[in-house]
């Protein structure tokens, strides 16, 4: 019977939520280190906890909506904390920490690791296909957070109503550039995820693509972000348009994640995963 660290991790993230709100709305500078410390502490606890989980249960540790949420939260936390270090600005924590908190709370109430993976799917490719998607989506989720901040700040600067908390955000251009950087890193990961899924499917079922719901939705998500990169890089799109694309992309990610009910309608490859 292992000691479940999750409540402690959730408590630390909850603390981080409070502190991050204070860094934006409270006295300037006073809460910065507390916020980062709380969030780092939660990640420091969560990483070995998750690693232990995977070591003990193997692939089953990734099964279930709860597991998905938990790993996404960890991925976001790590990516965010690295950006926070580079940027020296903590305002994003205001959104990232609550997302983490909600994801972890969700995973606490949804048992993960139930269900069996069919024997034919026992392959080392599992450890490529799944984690790379999780990490890629973590980057995209953070890009989504950045785009939210972009739009908020742009609205404030345009309307000339600049509240004191908007001042705490990083500069507008930096936020826009950050979105681009994050998507550029996440996109190859997602591409690798889809490709590894194809390869795997070909190895097991001799089919490269079967148009089942989850596959299709992740392809649509991939396309949305491809459009973003194309527009941003090749066509010089910038500002509201690209950031709205990112929001659409994030919605796609959410749908893709929870597409399982659709999968159950068909004889699909992702059915064994408990929603």
């Amino acid at each position: 019977m292992t000691f479940n660290l999750l409540p402690f991790i959730i408590a630390l993230v909850g603390l981080a939520v409070v502190f991050y709100s204070l860094t934006v709305f409270g006295q300037k500078g006073k809460w910065d280190s507390s916020a980062s410390f709380a969030y780092w502490a939660s990640a420091a606890l969560h990483a070995p906890h998750a690693a232990f989980h995977v070591w003990r249960e193997g692939r089953a540790a990734f099964l279930g909506g709860g597991a998905a949420a938990e790993f996404l939260s960890l991925g976001m936390a790590v990516v965010y904390l690295i950006t926070e270090r580079k940027f020296k600005n903590r305002s994003f924590g205001l959104v990232v920490a609550p997302i983490s908190f909600l994801a972890l709370t969700f995973s606490y109430f949804h048992k993960s690791g139930v269900g069996e993976i069919p024997v034919e799917l026992n392959s080392p490719l599992f450890y490529v296909h799944v984690p790379v998607f999780i990490l890629g989506y973590a980057f995209f989720s953070l890009a989504f957070v950045s785009s939210v901040f972009y739009l908020l700040q742009e609205r404030a600067l345009k309307s000339k109503k600049i509240h004191s908390w908007v001042r705490r955000f990083p500069p507008l251009q930096a936020v826009d550039d950050l979105c681009y950087t994050l998507v550029s890193i996440g996109f190859p990961m997602i591409t690798l995820g889809i490709l590894s899924g194809s390869v795997w499917s070909w190895l097991v079922w001799s089919r490269v693509w079967s148009w089942e719901p989850k596959e299709t939705l992740s392809l649509i998500t991939w396309l949305v972000f491809a459009v973003y990169l194309h527009g941003r890089y090749l066509r010089g799109w910038r500002g509201r348009r690209t950031n709205l694309i990112l929001i659409v992309g994030f919605v796609c990610i959410l749908i893709t994640y929870h597409s399982l009910p659709l999968s159950l309608m068909q004889d699909a490859k992702h059915t064994f995963i408990d929603p």
Binding site: K158, L172, A174, G239
Partner: protein, 439 residues
């Protein structure tokens, strides 16, 4: 020792009255020398004189005489009868004076809350007094701590944060938009005092490259030559300037806008979405407000900038409470030091005085004492020592108690008077004084 303050400022007196008391640096030195001339009650003096206030700080042993001297001095300065300014003068004694000076140094008493110039002025006032030799232990400590309070307030609270002038607000917005300004170019359309101010702020924020446009090309060239890395552009090529720059400062005398939306649309296409920040400080405006509708254009006119300034002033005012907490904390620090100034040396002098009496009496009778046995001599010594200690015990204890109750100065003064103690000025860092003499 008491600290006395007499002063007028922009809150108590209109400028016609204040100007009568304004003293230049040279005059301040002369005034200090006549105020603290050794013959009057004032032992130390510092004068702080700015366009918004003139304050006289003095240290004197006798409170009433000290104020009389100050009053007389001030009325001698002013060329108007006392009735003309009597209502504008405020006083502060001891900790009130300390609190006031700390508040002034922190910028709480300034017209623009938290402004930084006053701190330098406080420092300068002290420097002048030091040079004139009129600042001593008390006022040195006071003014040095005041400067410290000024620094603490500005670093630990938001009292001095955020721009409170139109041009620095504009640059603050540019930083909010672009972040690092070192690779951004600024286009200057027209010229004038406000443009120069904005350029100054832009330069200190890191902008290195300037493009200058003016209807008269010579004036553009002239302004460009005064900037390190600048290029003059003919007025007809203004569009090119708009394509290249990131920040535009516009202040021409044109009666109608010189930049409008129709003109900007193709320019924004060429720029491929690179953001452009317009600072339109001209009245009538140079930039058509409709330009702000273009997604990547941000147009701020003088009213918008003034709105930002107002917002900043508001948030500065919210910091006043926190600054006041710092001030109270520092006033308490000063008070502890100040009352120990009187108490500790007084106790030392007291002991020395009574000991002195004992030794004097013993030596007066030394011839007869010689005839006593060792044992008897020791007994005499023991009795006299015991007497001294017991006499000292109660007043010493009472004075220390009074010090804890913040009454130390008064009791120390009483003890000095009652026993005729001569308490010498000790060194700046505190130390043993010379022998106290009993009369």
């Amino acid at each position: 020792m008491h600290i006395l303050l007499l002063g007028i400022n922009h809150k108590t007196a209109p400028v016609e009255v204040r100007e009568k008391f304004y003293l230049t640096e040279e005059r301040v030195a002369g005034c200090l020398e006549s105020l603290v001339d050794g013959s009057g009650p004032a032992k130390e003096g510092v004068i702080l004189s700015t366009c918004n206030r003139t304050e006289f700080y003095a240290a004197a042993d006798a409170l009433k005489e000290g104020y009389n001297a100050l009053d007389g001095f001030v009325s001698g300065l002013a060329s108007v009868p006392r009735s003309g300014y009597r209502d504008s003068i405020y006083r502060g004694t001891n900790m009130e004076a300390v609190r006031r000076l700390f508040a002034v140094a922190a910028g709480l008493d300034s017209m623009i809350v938290g402004e930084g110039q006053i701190l330098g002025q406080v420092r300068d006032a002290h420097r002048i007094a030091l040079a004139a030799g009129t600042s001593g232990k008390t006022l040195n400590r006071l003014f040095r701590q005041a400067v410290h309070v000024g620094k603490r307030s500005r670093t630990e609270t938001g009292i001095a944060r955020n721009a409170v002038s139109v041009s620095s607000a504009a640059v603050g917005l540019a930083c909010q938009l672009f972040g690092d300004l070192s690779r951004k170019q600024a286009l200057l359309i027209g010229a004038g005092k406000m443009t120069n101010l904005a350029v100054k702020h832009l330069k200190s924020a890191g902008v290195a490259r300037f493009l200058v446009v003016n209807r008269t090309f010579e004036r553009a060239r002239d302004l460009a030559s005064r900037l390190p890395d600048a290029e003059a552009i003919p007025f007809e090529s203004m569009n090119e300037g708009l394509e290249r720059a990131d920040i535009v400062i516009s202040s021409t005398g044109a009666m109608r806008p010189i930049v409008d939306k129709a003109m900007m649309e193709p320019i924004m296409r060429v720029r491929r979405g690179r953001r452009l920040f317009f600072v339109d400080i001209a009245v009538p405006r140079d930039v058509d407000p409709a330009v702000n509708e273009l997604e990547h254009c941000f147009v701020y006119d003088i009213d918008d900038l003034q709105g930002v300034v107002e917002e900043n002033l508001g948030s500065r005012r919210q910091e006043v409470e926190r600054v006041e907490a710092i001030i109270e904390n520092e006033v308490e620090e000063f008070r502890k030091w100040f009352s120990s100034l009187d108490v500790a040396p007084t106790l030392v002098a007291f002991r020395k005085s009574i000991e002195g009496i004992r030794e004097a009496e013993l030596s007066r009778h030394s011839a007869k004492l010689e005839r006593l046995t060792e044992e008897q001599k020791n007994l005499v010594n023991a009795i006299t020592s015991g007497l001294v200690n017991k006499i000292l015990h109660c007043p010493t204890h009472a004075l220390k108690e009074a010090d804890l109750r913040q009454d130390g100065s008064f009791y120390a003064q009483a003890l000095k008077t009652l026993f005729g103690l001569n308490v010498p000025e000790t060194a700046e860092t505190g130390g043993e004084g010379e022998e106290g003499e009993a009369t």
